[in-house]
């Protein structure tokens, strides 16, 4: 299905990442936004609040982030594409209901414009230190999908992509951007509506009384049931069976959790999206995501000028982690370097997948600004030795 | 049930008759129905259901006025009344 022309501001714009993300959501057909102000994400809510009343959407400034996350799940179960945005402290508050969305298998999109932490940290300055929280922040065992845009243009595109993934896999999807990308203003080209592909929600084609909310078959994603149509279905955050009824035992837990994990793991090849430059025949690969991948480029160019055979990987989806590709490359290269605005979070995954086949290193940073390209260059030179 | 005054149309009122149905296996023996039946139709029986509770039993058949109070106050959806005329009508229509 294509986007609706009235939802798409086709043309060239000068937008920051947050406004671009809001436009992406509107183009994707988002019509409910529940959010709570928090720096540096608020521009998304502001733009949505400005745009929604004129296009039949509803923006609600909720009383807190707990309510925001719960409300977007309620609205999504009501059949409306929903989204929220936040940053570190709000992300922590949303984690419980993020888990509810995972457990209920409810599509929605949550944007985390990362700032420096822990706690209140650096409200106005960038960080990428919520990456492991995105992966494991809610309790229990589950898989997530997290995207990391590196520019306002990509903030627009990945927001649409996030809605598509959330509808396709019937789960909340995270956009893990950062203050830099969120507040960086660049040219954003919004294509015409017929160039934007949307994945629409799959509802059951069975009649009321014959359909259950979780018809897991181990292969396809079960279609959802619409409210208000007589299906009278039940869904819960408790461990449940195909009917959505709570079942408190190990067998039901195995089936339920297995479904949440398998739907991402088994479709990892479809979900994972990487950009690679010069990785074939490289001795060293620099991995990164979001703003850090842009900062790494001058350092890579400098190293290449020194005659180092160096390639780059930019993770557009950070979760699920591109495990297969990293294992494969680790066997061919001498070293892999992770550049991220924390002291080694996604690095742990890279190191795990490298499994001793090559040297690994992280260019760590406490956040508050981006890396100096020279710091990255130094680490590259170190691992070459 | 005592009236504080005699209703003016008492000669025209027909006291309805009810038939109490008890779903014994669902009962948890709370005794709400026994306590609040205005006609004292019920008491807890001596026998046990399979969960070990004493379900109620009708001790004054024919005295139920189909007020539905037992049905409404039962927390376990285990007792209900049907109006005797309705029951008979349904039987007649089905036979």
């Amino acid at each position: 299905m294509k986007a609706k022309p009235e939802n798409v501001l086709t043309g060239s714009h000068y937008l920051d990442g947050n406004h671009a993300s809001a436009e992406g959501a509107i183009a994707a057909g988002c019509r409910f936004f529940g959010g709570y102000p928090i720096t540096p994400s608020t521009e998304i809510a502001e733009r949505i609040s400005q745009r929604f009343p004129r296009i039949g959407g509803i923006f609600v400034q909720m009383e807190d982030e707990l309510a925001s996350m719960a409300a977007i799940l309620g609205a999504s179960n009501g059949g409306v594409k929903s989204m929220s945005c936040t940053s570190g402290p709000g992300f922590s508050l949303m984690m419980e209901n993020f888990g509810l969305g995972i457990m209920m298998e409810t599509p929605c999109v949550l944007v985390n414009v990362q700032r420096g932490g822990p706690s209140t940290g650096l409200p106005t300055l960038p960080g990428q230190a919520d990456m492991m929280q995105a992966r494991w922040g809610s309790h229990g065992d589950y898989e997530v999908i997290a995207l990391a845009p590196d520019s306002p243009q990509e903030s627009f595109e990945l927001t649409i992509h996030a809605f598509n993934l959330s509808e396709k896999y019937r789960m909340p999807v995270l956009i893990m951007t950062d203050e830099c990308v969120g507040h960086m203003t660049e040219k954003v080209v919004i294509p015409s509506a017929d160039e934007i592909d949307l994945v629409e929600r799959k509802y059951t084609d069975k009649k009321p009384g014959e359909a259950w909310p979780y018809e897991w078959n181990g292969k396809s994603i079960p279609p959802m049931l619409p409210v208000g149509k007589g299906y009278k279905f039940h869904i819960t955050g408790l461990t449940h069976d195909e009917k959505g009824y709570p079942v408190i035992n190990a067998e039901a837990q195995e089936k339920n959790v297995r479904q949440l994990i398998d739907k991402v793991k088994k479709n990892a090849d479809d979900i994972i999206w990487l950009e690679e430059w010069d990785t074939d025949g490289a001795d060293i690969i620099v991995m990164s995501y979001g703003i850090s991948s842009r900062v790494a480029r001058p350092a890579i160019a400098k190293a290449r000028a020194d005659g180092i055979k160096i390639g780059q990987i930019r993770m557009i989806t950070v979760w699920p982690f591109p495990e297969k590709r990293i294992r494969e490359l680790a066997g061919k290269v001498k070293a892999m370097v992770m550049v991220e605005l924390n002291h080694g979070q996604v690095y742990l995954e890279m190191d795990r997948c490298a499994a001793g086949q090559c040297v690994t290193a992280v260019v760590g940073h406490s956040g508050g600004t981006v890396h100096k390209p020279d710091d990255i260059y130094k680490v590259i030179k170190d691992v070459v030795k | 049930m005592k009236f504080w005054r005699t209703p003016l149309d008492i000669d025209q009122l027909k006291i309805p008759k009810g038939d109490v149905h008890i779903l014994e296996e669902r009962c948890k023996g709370c005794g709400f129905c026994v306590e609040y039946c205005p006609k004292g139709v019920l008491k807890l029986s001596d026998k046990f259901n399979s969960k070990g509770y004493h379900p109620p039993v009708v001790i004054k058949p024919g005295e139920c006025v189909n007020c539905d109070l037992c049905e409404m106050i039962c927390p376990d959806f285990a007792i209900f009344c049907l109006r005797v005329e309705e029951v008979n009508k349904e039987v007649a229509s089905e036979s």
Binding site: L73, N77, I235 | I73
Partner: protein, 296 residues
């Protein structure tokens, strides 16, 4: 041809059409009042002839949180305290549905207290049923923000010495347009209150005092749930429209019940539509819910 009365008539409880009979018997203890409150809601839904396809019910966590699972409606069992915001999102997405929140005192006024006051402030068209058993029952009888002073619980073993919430006052002062309190014993009045709340546009709040036998009654040596029902019978005073400052509940003293608030006020969506209409004029299309994109 049948001659006996019994086989000809299906032995089906009249509320079975509104309950998930495949989930009954429920998990609640003997002499717990929750089942009675569920019957009252089922009866109210049945008698108000509302289209049951157009009713959604949302619960939080706790004993009362299990209600959503027993009602044959589109039902959602959410996280602790978040039933109201979840229901609010559902309502805003689908204003054509009647969304009911059915949860307990701990869920709605302790962990979810902020959502209660804010959603009442917005006057969202939700019906909130708060079953108050004075205790956290599911977790084993801990002190709640509704536990009366001196009542014992597993975490107030010497008695509770904090002031409890006055729920009708809280709801009314936050902006609810319908506020009532009844007990599980006032089954007909409760059913009537549910019917009124179902037909009320705006935020309606019904507090239902219900017996918790296993934890509240046992720990305070008050007998069983039946003894608590008898206590309600002897100690409840009906005072419709009374000053809500007077409806505090003290330990084992009189309980004032009745319909306290029933006013008209524009709802959340009414206010949005009116406000935007003033700003945008005739260009503004009144908000009416889902855009039909998603199969609804």
């Amino acid at each position: 041809m049948s001659t006996s009365v019994e086989p000809a008539v299906k032995k089906e409880h009249p509320m079975e059409k509104i309950l998930r009979m495949d989930r009954i018997p429920h998990i609640w203890c003997p002499t717990c009042g929750l089942g009675t409150v569920v019957t009252a809601l089922a009866t109210a839904l049945d008698e108000s002839e509302i289209d049951l396809n157009k009713v959604a019910i949302v619960s939080g966590i706790g004993c009362t949180g299990r209600v959503a699972g027993y009602m044959k409606l589109d039902s959602f069992h959410t996280t602790h305290g978040r039933a109201i915001p979840f229901a609010f999102g559902m309502h805003v997405a689908r204003p054509d549905l009647k969304t009911i929140v059915f949860s307990g005192d701990g869920d709605l006024v302790s962990i979810g207290g902020n959502h209660l006051i804010h959603t009442a402030r917005r006057n969202a068209d939700l019906m909130v049923i708060c079953v108050n058993n004075f205790i956290y029952a599911m977790t084993g009888g801990q002190v709640a923000p509704t536990t009366p002073i001196t009542a014992k619980s597993s975490t107030s073993p010497f008695g509770n010495f904090e002031h409890p919430f006055n729920l009708p006052l809280l709801a009314a002062s936050s902006g609810a347009v319908y506020v009532a309190r009844w007990t599980a014993l006032h089954i007909r009045r409760l059913t009537k209150a549910f019917k009124e709340a179902l037909n009320k546009r705006g935020f309606s709040f019904v507090e239902v005092i219900a017996p918790c036998s296993t934890l509240y009654a046992r720990r305070n040596k008050l007998g069983t749930g039946l003894d608590l029902m008898k206590f309600y019978h002897d100690n409840c005073v009906i005072k419709h429209g009374c000053d809500l400052k007077e409806v505090d509940i003290d330990y084992q003293s009189k309980i004032i019940v009745g319909k306290f608030v029933d006013i008209e006020k524009p709802t959340y969506i009414d206010c949005l539509n009116k406000g935007y209409k003033q700003v945008f004029g005739d260009k503004y299309k009144p908000y009416g819910g889902g855009d039909g994109n998603n199969g609804n």
